[in-house]
Symmetry: C2
Subunit: 616 residues, 2 copies
């Protein structure tokens, strides 16, 4: 048993996963929450405290038993924690009551970030405090524009306490006030945010040590549904050639800077908006492990819960590196239906949606369901989640697709749903189409090169259907800026190998190689074979251009016009990250041998004299 | 809560890890073991049974509470389980009492395997039942040879109940009898095994569904110390060019066949011996999750505990795929020292060895310590384990090295230890030496090619010290069988990219590519530059041989003599499995640009007229 005991305010799913991480290190954890069967209490056989974590007397009782105190929820009594520091100076509180106090009031949180992250230049949308009066709201709506986001300063989460005001009509404003402040409301209750026209929501989990050092997990993309976290894709990838390739690094840097500005140790969830311009704005911060970081349990070298424990105990922070190719997470929310479980089969819940998703997850390779053990399922309640890992975004997407289909079937048995639109970019590879999450990018300078490059796409589609690829045009001489954007952004889009076909001066492969760290395979194209091509050099011109790269910038050259071999080489390259492909390539090679065996048979059967004449 | 409740006989570390896996699915587990604080009971807040799992009345009591019953230890009362099947027909028992009965008696286990795995051809060493008399032991020693392995048929594990008889001297035989049967002994108590001169110990975890289908995790190498599992390396890799590249597949096949022969569901641990000849013999089977499979918690798509739960509940089996590049596991055994923990720091145990190893693990990226929560540490007792994951065997080895050093320091502060010998093959890359666990293999036909190929090794060592590589000779024309062995075995040794340099006819890269599925980079060598080389073709001869490979078998050609670019291409290829290398390559490329910037400065400063004259 560790010499330190940790107390947690709150015994929900975050406490449950935290307690499981603490159990690995045999660190004793005491939970303060109402009841004996809270999710976190189920996974610990120790004397917990049955009481509200909002009640100062119970917090005092908890402090008697522990060395370090932390929270799984920010809506706690900060004054009680501050007083605790006087009455129990030996108990450390992480993160600090001051940090929790700032963060639990979203307006103070924004002010704090504004002060610490560069004032007017801070990565924040415009925001303003408001009085809860129709006049003041109308004034702010005129100032910040419509739609206007009205938010409660405290006790708001999962979209509760938020209201989107779409007009300044008095009855709309009245409706907003009634929704947000059903009992009236005073000056300090609400604030307003200028509407942010984001294209994506991102999140970064940051861990802050007691020494103030921070480390962050990769930025992830989050998808919300009805303002509740629905899906997480990790790591975040830029989606197209034009998108700024440095978004992920910028997001991580902004999130780390934000968390450095607070005091106390622990894991923080930073939610951000990505705008079409590439601008990044901080949305909100949570002073605790966060739903968008659950994937770290299966996908990272140390989980967010492990790191929260390490941070608050003053232990070395764990590696935040992602250890798999890609990961996804789907929240399991309760439905409004209940069934009687059949005793004959294994049932995981009396909520048929939870049971269904769990069973589908158990049939999905790489999927790990987590059920939180909450006694009652309710519509929209977070009842569990499913993490999916895989070698690539494409594999994770395909594995997730079955889960999302099951969800869509349940919610809208006959029509398209939000889920299927969330899924659309993760559909299995359509015949003859570029995959939205390619590992191989096949590029060429002109559509006139396509006939020479097509065999690359064809052999991938036929023999290696699990390998996602794209085919597009990038011309070194006619679209030089697209060349730069393509090369600089390829790795951030998740591409692992680039195949570039080029004839004549054949600059494309070498120029791409000079601006990416990915392996580039060059296919020398005989321009004669290309409509309108020059030539007479049989592709030897392009061959020398592609082959004789200067020391420092390698290109992998294949035989002239042999785009088939370029594709096969790319698959071999991918096997460095997916040993499964070694087996698949061995099967392909065995097939080549068998084809020769067949011809040996024919040659023996009909004789060499007849071989060329018969149709073989 | 799941509709099914699982009961476990035994509440040790296996039960603890199983219970944690069950908690993820919210499956209720009831533990039968003595005391209220057994390791498994600590991670479950449910009414357990305080009693011996060997006591039939407690087993009956457990059966009243559960739907499925399983074991974390095979030394249970099989008759009691059989009777349970009559008294509680609704309770399923997995694996079946018959299977447990066969396996818990090692002699019956061997007989069973012999019958089901091909009789005299079964992958088993010779074994015989013996009477516990000096005469009979002498007779068997004469028959099977010395040294002779004497084993208790039942209740033996971790080397307990085993005795190595090294001579047929009466006093040695008497000592053996006294050790194994201190209270005398009858006919059924012992059996003998012919000594197996193994070169490695391997293990495979196999999961058997209720339908009899099996799936297996990758074969792993196990290292024992004092007959107790010390280290696990996953996956098992063949160690040198000459070793049969199909060992891993054969081992998995043999293990699966063995487990198919039993009845009932669950995870089984199969321990095997690898002989110098490549022959594989089954050593022992455990009818439960096994120490050699703990690494699966962090390293595989579903853990052995998750799969045990799935199997016994009749759910779909989980993916057994390894999701990281490589993994290792170190057992934490108790020492014979105790200290008073210092209240000022976080201490994990009053056993200083456990505390030390845990702290070192917390400072090691990719390491996850598991402490089992056993009340008392004793010398040799399994108190916990540490799993280490990484992108490659080399990275796992380096991460493990710090743990093994700490262990060696503790055990033998001043001298070399067993641990450091276990560690020797995982030392960091020595300057100028091949790494024992290479990701890149640099080969050439002759040592006369070495001056041309050396820059490849040098740039790797200088700019990419984390990338392990080897340099060796493989001649297509002078060592054609070594060529075959090298190419066929490279992937199984863990190599991810091959760089092959060749001049003249330059068959090496293409022939290697035809017998491996790995990417092969070919460096055309100008034979003129090689001592005694022919030439006059400036390497163009070799270039065409390497470049113009037939459709189906790709080689990645780089510029003539440019082995530097071959190495840089290999690093880019490895980034498909290790995104970290993208960052490292970007740094290298930035350096190339900065070098040009410097020269631009000099050219501006001293003018073009003086540039060639001054020393730059």
């Amino acid at each position: 048993m560790s010499s330190k005991v940790v107390g947690i305010l709150g015994g929900g799913q975050l406490g449950r996963m935290f307690a499981a991480a603490a159990s690995l290190l045999n660190v004793k954890t005491v939970i303060l929450d109402v009841g004996d069967d809270a999710p976190a209490k189920q996974v610990l056989n120790s004397p917990h405290i049955n009481g509200s974590f909002k009640d100062p007397s119970f917090i005092q009782q908890l402090a008697e038993k522990v060395d370090v105190l932390t929270v799984e929820i920010e809506h706690v009594d900060v004054d009680a924690l501050r007083k605790l520091r006087e009455s129990h100076p030996q108990v450390e509180i992480h993160p600090s009551p001051e940090t929790i106090g700032i963060i639990q009031d979203k307006y103070r949180q924004k002010l704090h970030l504004q002060v610490h992250l560069g004032g007017a230049n801070a990565p924040l949308g415009l925001f303003q405090q408001i009085d809860v009066t129709p006049d003041d709201i109308k004034r702010v709506a005129a100032e910040l524009g419509l739609p206007l986001m009205l938010k409660r300063r405290t006790l708001a989460y999962d979209g509760r306490g938020n209201y989107v005001l779409r007009s300044s009509e008095p009855r709309d404003i009245t409706a907003a006030i009634q929704f947000l402040c059903p009992n009236g409301g005073g000056k300090g209750e609400l604030y307003a945010e200028k509407w942010v026209p984001f294209i994506k929501e991102l999140a970064v989990m940051v861990v802050r040590g007691r020494d103030g050092n921070v480390a962050s997990y990769p930025a992830v993309e989050t998808v919300h549904k009805d303002s509740i976290c629905h899906l997480v894709w990790a790591p975040f990838r830029t989606a197209n050639v034009e998108q700024d390739p440095f978004i992920r690094a910028n997001v991580q840097r902004i999130a780390q800077e934000a968390i450095k500005s607070f005091t106390g140790a622990g894991v923080f969830g930073v939610e951000l908006f990505l705008l079409a311009s590439g601008e990044i704005l901080i949305n909100e911060i949570a002073p605790r492990p966060h739903n968008s970081g659950h994937y770290t349990i299966e996908a990272c070298e140390s989980s967010q819960f492990d790191n929260h424990l390490r941070a608050i105990l003053g232990l070395p922070l764990g590696s935040t590196k992602i250890k798999v190719g890609a990961a996804g997470m789907l929240n399991i929310l309760g439905s409004n239906r209940l069934i009687q479980p059949q005793p004959s089969k294994v049932s995981f819940s009396s909520d048929p949606l939870i049971d269904k998703l769990t069973h589908v997850a158990l049939s999905t390779p790489g999927a790990t369901p987590h059920l939180y053990g909450k006694a009652q399922s309710r519509k929209g309640r977070k009842m569990g989640h499913i993490t999916v890992v895989g070698v690539s975004d494409a594999e994770v997407g395909e594995r997730m697709a079955g889960l999302l289909s099951a969800l869509a079937d349940f919610e809208h048995p006959t029509t398209d749903s939000e889920s299927s639109s969330a899924l659309s970019s993760y559909r299995p590879h359509l015949h003859g189409q570029s995959h939205p999450h390619p590992l191989i990018s096949i590029i060429m300078g002109s559509d006139s090169d396509l006939p020479t490059m097509l065999p690359a796409a064809q052999i991938l589609q036929k023999h290696f259907p699990s390998v996602p690829f794209e085919v597009t045009l990038v011309s070194a001489h006619r679209t030089p800026l697209r060349l730069v954007a393509f090369a600089k952004g390829a790795a951030e889009r998740g591409v692992k190998v680039i195949i570039a076909g080029a004839g004549g001066a054949a600059h494309l492969p070498g120029m791409v190689a000079s601006m990416t760290a990915l392996p580039v395979v060059g296919v020398p194209i005989d321009s004669k074979s290309v409509a309108g091509g020059g030539g007479g050099l049989s592709g030897v011109d392009a061959m020398w251009s592609i082959l004789q790269m200067p020391r420092g910038i390698p290109v992998a050259a294949v035989a002239i016009n042999n785009s088939t071999n370029a594709a096969l080489l790319a698959v071999r390259i991918l096997s460095a990250g997916n040993p499964e492909l070694v087996r698949e390539m061995e099967v392909y090679q065995k097939g080549l041998g068998e084809e020769v065996d067949r011809k040996i048979g024919v040659l023996g059967d009909i004789g060499w004299g007849n071989y060329g004449k018969s149709k073989i």
